[in-house]
């Protein structure tokens, strides 16, 4: 505890004299080593310029640490996932390996669309208890967007599958994990429970062949296909640079036994 508790090694409590930069540099190295050891990191991360912090994880941090109590202006459009976080002390965000997306022979997009997530950086001692796949729906402005409109025009069915075997000749063997019927008159994030698949890949060490997402427009008007749910950068009619913030996000909730769960804290 003493090594963790007083993060500043003994020397830190004496006045670090300005004319001895070597001492302060050593002090910082000691402090950094202590911090990295607690993070379970071998070396200090050097994030690349392309690193993206999903807004969802930033909002989770603010809700959990009580920071949002001080910043009422910032509205968070989801409820804190109490159930998932009550059993987890670690939340990780994953984007899919975009370079592994496969087009069909005729250049069109397969449906369902397959997403591969590389979960290899989850430590062995971290037990995943739940996982969610978050997809962003972009509102489509047309006649059916009128909230009073109840026809089938604006309805889409989103199916989430686990891919059970490596795809062969464009065919994939899947099993359904979650499904939802949505109307395209609003923009919002949808969260799907993919915990059973992620637990098979992490806890049971089964092969991870990825997830598959199928979006069916109910009355099959081709005009609407692929426009409402943001599942691929190039599928979106208007190429936009907000893809990094609106691309599919896999979130895992795990516990490594080293600290209390991420239950919400009131600001001290």
């Amino acid at each position: 505890e003493s090594s963790y508790a007083s993060l500043i090694p003994e020397e830190g409590k004496k006045k670090v004299s300005a004319h001895n930069p070597a001492q302060s540099h050593d002090l910082l190295l000691d402090f950094e080593a202590t911090l990295l050891q607690m993070f379970g990191l071998q070396r200090r991360p050097r994030p690349s310029d392309s690193a993206v912090v999903p807004q969802y994880l930033l909002d989770l941090y603010r809700l959990q640490s009580g920071e949002l109590e001080d910043a009422p202006g910032h509205d968070v459009n989801f409820d804190y996932p109490e159930r998932s976080t009550s059993r987890a002390n670690t939340v990780r965000g994953f984007h899919h390996e975009e370079h592994m997306e496969e087009l069909q022979a005729d250049g069109s997009w397969p449906t369902p669309l397959r997403f591969l997530f590389n979960l290899s950086n989850i430590p062995e001692d971290e037990l995943i208890s739940s996982a969610e796949l978050r997809l962003y729906r972009q509102q489509i402005d047309d006649a059916s967007s009128d909230p009073q409109h109840t026809g089938e025009e604006g309805l889409h069915r989103i199916n989430i599958y686990e891919v059970l075997k490596p795809p062969r000749a464009g065919q994939i063997i899947t099993q359904l994990l979650d499904t939802r019927l949505v109307r395209h008159n609003s923009s919002k994030w949808e969260s799907f429970d993919v915990g059973p698949a992620v637990l098979r890949w992490t806890r049971d060490k089964l092969s991870n062949h990825g997830l598959a997402v199928e979006v069916l427009h109910l009355n099959q008007t081709p005009r609407q296909q692929g426009r409402h749910v943001r599942v691929s950068r190039s599928l979106h009619p208007v190429p936009s640079d907000d893809w990094d913030q609106f691309r599919p996000l896999l979130v895992t909730f795990g516990h490594d036994g080293k600290s209390h769960p991420l239950t919400r804290r009131t600001k001290r």
Binding site: K13, L41, P47
Partner: protein, 113 residues
């Protein structure tokens, strides 16, 4: 005198403020939030087992106690007695974002042990 007493109190074991500012040490490129945090630390003397001023009491029991202290026993140390956690949002070595709860990051209380 009050002034003298004030100085004496400050020397005893207690919690001292210590704000760890991640941008000061260049870690704000991988630690997304918080920008820093109040870590605190414990420092000060532990006039344990008996406070020195007791020696001025001439009561037999106190004198016996004061003079029976084995001076070879090391003094008690000023250490954290109560700690709390903070959660941190950071980028790991693979550019992935992690939100994690860390135990024993903030010193809430100090004591002589």
């Amino acid at each position: 005198s009050p002034k003298q007493r004030g100085r004496k109190r400050n020397r005893n074991c207690r919690r001292h403020a210590l704000y760890v500012d991640f941008s000061d040490v260049g870690w704000n490129d991988w630690i997304v939030a918080p920008p820093g945090y109040q870590a605190f630390y414990c420092n000060g003397e532990c006039p344990f087992p008996l406070a020195d001023h007791l020696n001025s009491t001439n009561h037999a029991i106190v004198q016996t106690l004061v003079n029976s202290v084995n001076t070879n026993i090391p003094k008690a140390c000023c250490v954290p007695t109560e700690l709390s956690a903070i959660s941190m949002l950071y980028l790991d070595e693979t550019d992935r974002v992690v939100l994690k709860n860390y135990q024993e990051m903030v010193v809430e209380g100090c004591g002589c042990r």
